[in-house]
């Protein structure tokens, strides 16, 4: 049995759903950020799988370049997100997202 694009798409869907579940169901802000990283990785798998399997015989590199941009945005997001979490912890001693509802209407 050979591996096709469907295998990669389902793997990426499973990883994305796990990350989505964690991002929605966790209370620790760092845990939520970790789950978001899993979701971004799942999307990258999809991009790279399409660039490998869409055309026979060649690898189309547009998907690879898009994945690089996703990694750049993910790195920026991790840096700013963790800085926000640390600032929050410094001012309020808590990073539980259910207790940080000051801006909730």
């Amino acid at each position: 049995m050979s591996i096709g694009i469907t295998h990669y798409l389902i793997l990426s869907g499973i990883l994305f759903s796990i990350g989505l579940y964690g991002a929605l169901a966790k209370r620790n802000a760092v845990g939520i950020l970790m789950c978001i990283e899993i979701m971004l990785n799942a999307v990258n798998i999809t991009l790279v799988a399409f660039s490998r399997y869409l055309a026979p015989e060649v690898v189309i590199l547009t998907g690879h370049i898009f994945a690089i941009f996703v990694m750049v945005v993910a790195a920026a997001e991790a840096a700013v997100g963790l800085a926000i979490i640390l600032a929050l912890y410094r001012s309020r001693e808590v990073i539980d997202v259910e207790k940080t509802d000051l801006m909730k209407w």
Partner: protein, 170 residues
């Protein structure tokens, strides 16, 4: 044949470690499993003929991002209280399950056609190293990724300045 076995082993490792990240109560162990998940995704890239991306994945995700996350775990003392679920646990499970069902139905039900690559698109033959071609695709004028590259550089600069401003002592 080797690729098939590698795909199955790596995907089982990736899914199991991602589940561990979500389900473990100990946040530090979850972060270590996240590193394992990143390494498994790098292996998936190798099976997809994306050698450069596999290297970048290990350097940026398994190296930099996970160190950043472990730093944040260490600097916030919430680690003693663990990584509990919120009160949305079951509705989140429902939403994630519905998303997963939609993904699987679409992936199985769609006929993915074989296209011929347009000549204006960066490409390499399957099995060849991709590093040089990715560089050409990013930086040569005819593919049009130079402006996004510069914008990404500005984004990283803005992120660094923003992080420093947020963290700095008043």
């Amino acid at each position: 044949m080797g690729t098939v076995a590698a795909f199955w082993i790596i995907s089982v490792v990736a899914v199991a470690s991602a589940l561990g990240v979500v389900l473990l109560r100990d946040l530090f162990r979850a972060a270590l499993l996240l590193v394992l998940c990143f390494l498994a995704v790098a292996g998936i890239y190798v099976t997809l003929n994306a050698d450069f991306l596999a290297g970048v994945q290990i350097l940026i995700y398994a190296g930099a991002v996970s160190v950043l996350i472990i730093f944040a775990i260490m600097m916030t003392r919430e680690i003693q209280r663990g990584n509990p679920f919120s009160r949305f646990r079951f509705s989140a499970l429902l939403i994630a399950g519905l998303m997963l069902a939609a993904f699987i139905i679409v992936a199985l039900g769609t006929h993915w056609p074989s296209l011929t690559a347009a000549p204006g698109v960066a490409q390499v033959p399957q099995g060849d190293p991709t590093t040089g071609a990715v560089a050409a695709g990013l930086f040569s004028k005819k593919y049009g990724f130079v402006l996004p590259f510069e914008v990404a550089a500005v984004l990283l600069l803005a992120a660094i300045i923003g992080a420093i401003t947020l963290i700095r002592e008043k």
